[in-house]
């Protein structure tokens, strides 16, 4: 189980430092990481990444994980996610752009309205993740990470909305989207970008 979580986290991040990996997993998995490096599944360096063998191993573990789920529940969760996904993506764009120009964040009322709709998105996605986690317990971690990002945003650190390379709301959201596409047996080509 832990091996799957580590390999999948590295895949989703592409390349990731050991510190950032520990942060996204919510715990230190030094032993697991060292073992995966030792067996050649992870390539070590300033950042960790998957070797071709590691990618193969991850695919096997994911297929095994999927074989135990109730497909109907996963597909229902996927549909619910898609319905809120468009709203979330629009609000991130609204945060970045105002009237087609970069948002200078001088209009406090405008920014507040965007962040209020984020609260609404969060209320809608939380039960979806809970339903998914009954089938794929590993994914409950996404609720925690989204909540952390949201708490940081509420505390005024708005970079936690969309900044890449940290587990911002947008970063976690897109990784969750990738997980859902995988779990539902879809591809990004058949989904939206």
């Amino acid at each position: 189980m832990t091996e799957l979580a580590v390999l999948q986290a590295v895949r989703l991040k592409g390349r990731v430092s050991r510190d950032d990996l520990a942060a996204t997993l919510g715990g230190d998995f030094v032993d697991v990481v060292d073992r995966l490096v030792g067996s050649g599944l992870l390539l070590d360096g300033p950042t960790l990444r998957l070797s071709p063998e590691g990618r193969g191993r991850l695919e096997g573990l994911l297929a095994d994980e999927r074989s135990h789920v109730d497909t109907a529940i996963v597909l229902a969760a996927y549909d619910e996610f898609r319905s809120v996904n468009a709203e979330f993506k629009a609000l991130v764009t609204d945060w970045q752009l105002k009237d087609g120009q970069p948002n200078t964040h001088e209009d406090v009322g405008y920014d507040a309205a965007v962040l209020t709709s984020l609260d609404d998105v969060h209320r809608r996605v939380t039960p979806t993740i809970a339903a998914l986690a009954t089938q794929l317990p590993r994914l409950s971690r996404y609720s925690v990470k989204l909540q952390t990002a949201l708490d940081n945003i509420h505390a005024g650190e708005t970079m936690w909305l969309a900044r890449p390379l940290i587990d911002s709301y947008h970063t976690v959201w897109f990784e969750l989207h990738e997980e859902l596409i995988l779990a539902a047996g879809r591809t990004r080509e058949t989904d939206d970008a």
Partner: protein, 525 residues
Amino acid sequence: MSTRPVILLDGDASSPPEVLGHKGHGIDMMRRNGLPVPPAFCITAEVGARYRAEREATVNAIWDDVLAGMRTLEAATSRTFGRGPHPLLVSVRSGAAVSMPGMMDTLLDLGFSDDVEKGLAAEGSAEFARDSRRRFTESYQRIVTGPAPDDPYQQLRAAIESVFASWDSPRAVAYRAHHGLDDRGGTAVVVQAMVFGNINANSGAGVVFSRNPMTGANEEFGEWLPGSQGDDVVSGTVDVQPIATLRSRQPGVYDQLISAASLLERLSADVQEVEFTIQDGALWLLQKRAAKRSAQAAVRLALQLLDDGLIDEAETLRRVAPAHVEALLQPSLQPETRMAAQLLATGLPAGPGVASGRAYTEVDAAIEAADRGEDVILVRNHTSPDDIHGMLVARGIVTETGGATSHAAVVSRELGRAAVVGCGSGVAESLAGKVVTVDGNQGEVREGSLQLSAWSEDNTPELRELAGIARRVSPLRAHARGDYPRLDRHTEAEVRSAMASGHSDVVSASPLLAMLAAIRLSGVS
């Protein structure tokens, strides 16, 4: 009520754009000068304003006038609205006092019924009648948001109401806010007899400019699409052709079109953008407006119009906004450089800026190339979270699929990367390995590493010429050097205080900008 609610645009309307709308005013002006324009009438902007307060009563009160307007269109075209054998179709277009291109609604091909389709099929072809009806049904559904009623007069009324209401659409409101336009009032509506660029191969639609609005070169410029209606050209979804191909296909029509554009330019004393349709070899002009232009073109065209005696020196300076000059002084992709380079892909501009480099389609290869010191452009079908390290090392980002809210768009904006998204499938393969320039302002990918450059007040001939004119017109003469008091900045406040202190000459780092500010402050006419 100060004017009639419905005014015929027969060249004799003699009302300002505030009443007729910009579009209606242009149509009336073209008719007055004997240009071929399909018959039209307008419902005034005053009615549009009243509609916003009281919808049903406003339309009821003017409906008899609208019907009378339709009778004149029928008489002028020898056609009948809503029935055969020679049915009349109309377009219903918005027209505010100030042009707001693409912001409000337009409906084409109105007035369909089964009987009308039969009539059109007999006059043209079954395919033409079907194509026109499909265009009508789709645009009606999209804009009025509901299935089209069978009664052509109900179609007309719903379309007019929909155009009136589009004054308050979010995009129109945002456009007015962004351009500082008055939010009160409302839009006029133009109802015009349809002409058909889709009737046969000897037909088409397009837009022509009396001079090039991108580079400012004194040459006609435009695009058209054979066998199409105007919305195809505007939508950008179909490959349009440069206007030069019209010259080889229909030289007579081309000459007539160019001389009309040139006449309108002389009459309006400004560079014109003219929308046209060719129906079975006959040219029709649908609307005209002052051409939108780049900052480069704004300066060059103002100087040309002065040389041609169409405007005086004070007006020349009014045609150049300080923002144009400020933009020109920043490094940017010059239009003539851009237009000379091969266009490789177009998409949605998603991250502002311009960047050049070699296109890589794989993240690892992109990172290795960047490590070797290469400038990298990352081109992907779409981006995912695990592409982030490739996006970080890239100077520009291009995707095949995805829109303004896609992962690539959001992350590019966060990283400050030039990005063009949704360029269509096959683009990654066709760009791979090439040195390209990503123009995230225009939404284009062009061949080669295009250099950015800036104009300067000292060295660019156009700006020197403009500064020379400004020194003759401005109440405050600004110089790059000399024994005069120094103006630290060219803000309005500084310029005002220099003028208030009785200075007639100052030294400034941006003499032209200082004088443009002075001219605007003093309202020189």
